[in-house]
């Protein structure tokens, strides 16, 4: 799990252009949206692309993403249970 968490942090930094940030700057349990990392609706859509591209997970409805994209930990848990690649 720790390995997946680090991998996700690196991928998210890259996909969302969080330049000037390192995996250490992202708390695994912090909120990604709103307060916390301050991601927005376009970032959420880009995360949906990342899930499909890198883990073979399809989220048709952005509303589904809300619970999954709560924190790095919630993403990691979802990915490890649902990944197809």
């Amino acid at each position: 799990m720790e390995e997946l968490i680090l991998e996700l942090k690196k991928k998210i930094i890259n996909a969302l252009n969080l330049e000037e940030m390192t995996p250490d700057d992202i708390d695994t349990d912090d909120a990604l949206f709103g307060e916390g990392l301050g991601l927005d609706s376009i970032d959420a859509l880009e995360l949906i692309v990342l899930m499909e591209k890198d883990y073979g997970i399809k989220l048709a409805n952005p509303a589904e993403g809300k619970a999954i994209f709560k924190s790095i930990r919630s993403i990691a848990e979802y990915v490890s249970n649902h990944r197809t690649k």
Binding site: N17, E20, S41, I42, D43, L45, E46, V49, E52, K53
Partner: protein, 555 residues
């Protein structure tokens, strides 16, 4: 649906919709979509030799509109304004694209039509059509032209369909505006032309009284939840008018969750809850650059016939702001209406039109406002000059804009999410506004009006890579958003909290006269005291230029 207003109106009254299912461009079933498109037969009839499909549609629409009026297209006093979001984008990856870019395309259409005036392309995302009417109305009002041909058009392409799909904005079925079960929008293909004239024509009796463009200053894609910008635009155009004299409001009503909800709040906030509203998206889909003009024309025609068309697709109210919307046609007896529209980049626009009675006097002209330049900045790959002073630049770095950001600006991480055009606009506007003391924040009297030649070509090419058909087919939502060049205005508006007009124009070259003319007429919007204005073009890392000015109204 038809080539004339009457034909279109007849089809709509019969309840016909042009929305149909289409197979995906990607070959994947999940990407099949519903849209309104011309049939292959219609395309064959409308194609003009030497012109692309987009250009042929624009040409045919203008040509048909001109049949009904007596104006001299070959006069310098006939303005030509084209509203489009993506013009010939389906030809992006062909070798001749440099001759098909919006500015070149506009020139070619003008020359086939025999129009001599330099065409002005309005590229303001979804509000482009109404923005083009506002621009034309102001340029006529300032006395430089007698007539204006205002045409809006966009065509369906893999580029645009995949982009809206990546934003999860498309409905898999015909759209249901304002409905509780709405699932998103459908795209549509159309061209529509309105001819504006300062001399009251014999045949037509409508007057475009006033228009406004207002930015939410909130987010580049999500509308302000309370509909602030939209409400401000409505309030400006209806100022001094008894609201109960309005026949109707024709809304944008795309059937996305956020747009319709936002519009309902704006309508309620503007005191228009009792006025009948409708949207035409259930018939045509969202026709992008054509939408504002097409829908204004149809609404004029229907109000003239004493009715407001039914909102097709609507059944049960699904918005929280109180609105008077109906799935059936409504009789109207009065003769004026408001058209509203909103789009990416946080922009909103409204126009107020009224049927002009026989005895009303001709249009009045208003004197243009002059302006003075308070501050200026110029950035090229080789130098930065702020208020005449050279600033040091490291030309050896891979990304000069990021270098300028790090050295002179900083603490705005969103910078790294922007495309190059927006990054250029951001650093240039920051250097410019840092000259101002105290620096204005959250203001409602400063517009952003920018011009360029290359539209959003750099990010267009980047996005196109993400939709190359193959195993790696993942259209990028964050790149697609920036393929609207007016997003740079939105970024600056969000950063500074500017809530007034944001406009983006594409012109064939950096023509100071055209820019001056547009800027002086922009000041006819009474709320403005200053404009962040200028040229901003980004082709690639060695070909870019920003020359921005902060101009202040002189009288």
């Amino acid at each position: 649906m038809g080539v004339t207003t009457a034909e279109n109106y007849k089809a709509l009254r019969e309840g016909r919709s042009a929305l149909t299912s289409y197979l995906s461009y990607s070959g994947r079933d999940e990407d099949n979509y519903v849209a309104s498109r011309f049939t292959i037969e219609q395309q064959k009839q409308l194609m003009v030799e030497g012109l692309t499909w987009f250009e042929s549609l624009v040409y045919s629409s203008v040509k048909n509109a001109l049949l009904d009026c007596d104006i001299d297209v070959s006069s310098q006093r006939t303005l030509f304004v084209i509203s489009t979001t993506k013009a010939n984008i389906e030809h992006l990856q062909t070798s001749e694209y440099d001759t098909l870019e919006p500015a070149e395309s506009a020139n070619r259409i003008a020359s086939v039509l025999g129009v001599v005036c330099q065409p002005l392309v309005v590229c303001n995302a979804c509000i482009s059509g109404v923005a083009a009417l506002v621009t034309a109305q102001r340029l006529l009002e300032s006395g430089g032209y007698d007539n204006a041909i205002v045409v809006g058009c966009d065509v369906i392409s893999h580029f645009v369909v995949s982009g809206f799909q990546s934003l999860k904005a498309l409905s898999p079925e015909p759209c249901r505006p304002f409905d509780i079960e709405r699932l998103g929008l459908n795209l549509g293909e159309a061209a529509a032309t309105m001819i504006l004239s300062v001399n009251k024509p014999q045949t037509v009796s409508w007057k475009l009284v006033r228009g406004a463009i207002r930015n939410d200053g909130y987010h580049i894609t999500s509308p302000s939840p309370k509909g602030d910008g939209c409400a401000c635009a409505i309030n400006y155009v209806t100022e001094g008018i008894a609201l109960d004299t309005l026949s109707a409001v024709n809304v944008h009503g795309t059937a996305t969750m956020y747009n319709d909800q936002m519009e309902s709040k704006a309508i309620a906030a503007s005191g228009l809850s009792a006025i009948p509203i409708n949207t035409l998206k259930g018939y045509y889909g969202h026709t992008l650059g054509a939408s504002g003009i097409l829908e204004t024309i149809i609404t004029m025609h229907s109000v003239s016939h004493g009715e407001l068309l039914a909102t097709r697709g609507f059944s049960e109210i699904g918005v929280s702001g109180k609105v008077n919307i109906s799935a059936s046609p409504v009789s109207v007896s009065k003769h004026s209406f408001v058209k509203i529209i909103s789009g990416f980049g946080g922009c909103n626009a409204a126009v107020y039109l009224e049927a002009s009675s026989e005895n009303k006097e001709d249009n009045e002209f208003r004197e243009d406002c002059d302006y003075s330049v308070a501050h200026s900045v110029k950035i090229t790959p080789y130098s930065i000059v702020v208020d005449g002073k050279q600033i040091e630049i490291d030309t050896s770095t891979d990304n000069i804009l990021a270098d300028i950001y790090k050295r002179h600006i900083g603490s705005y991480p969103k910078f790294y999410k922007m495309d190059r055009l927006s990054q250029l606009g951001f650093v240039a506007s920051e250097l410019l506004l840092n000259q101002e003391y105290p620096r204005l924040q959250q203001c409602a009297d400063r517009a952003i009006v920018l011009f360029n030649h290359s539209s959003s070509v750099w990010v267009d090419c980047e996005y196109a890579k993400s939709i190359a058909i193959g195993d790696d087919y993942f259209p990028s939502p964050s790149l697609f958003v920036y393929t609207l060049p007016n997003i740079v205005c939105g970024e600056i508006a969000v950063r500074n909290g500017y809530h007034t007009e944001t406009s983006f124009y594409i012109i064939p070259n950096k023509d100071e006269n055209i820019m001056h003319e547009v800027l002086t007429s922009t000041f006819l919007d009474d709320s403005l005291q200053s404009i962040l204005a200028g040229w901003i073009d980004y082709e690639d890392e060695s070909h870019f230029e920003a020359e921005l000015k902060l101009i202040i109204k002189s009288k």
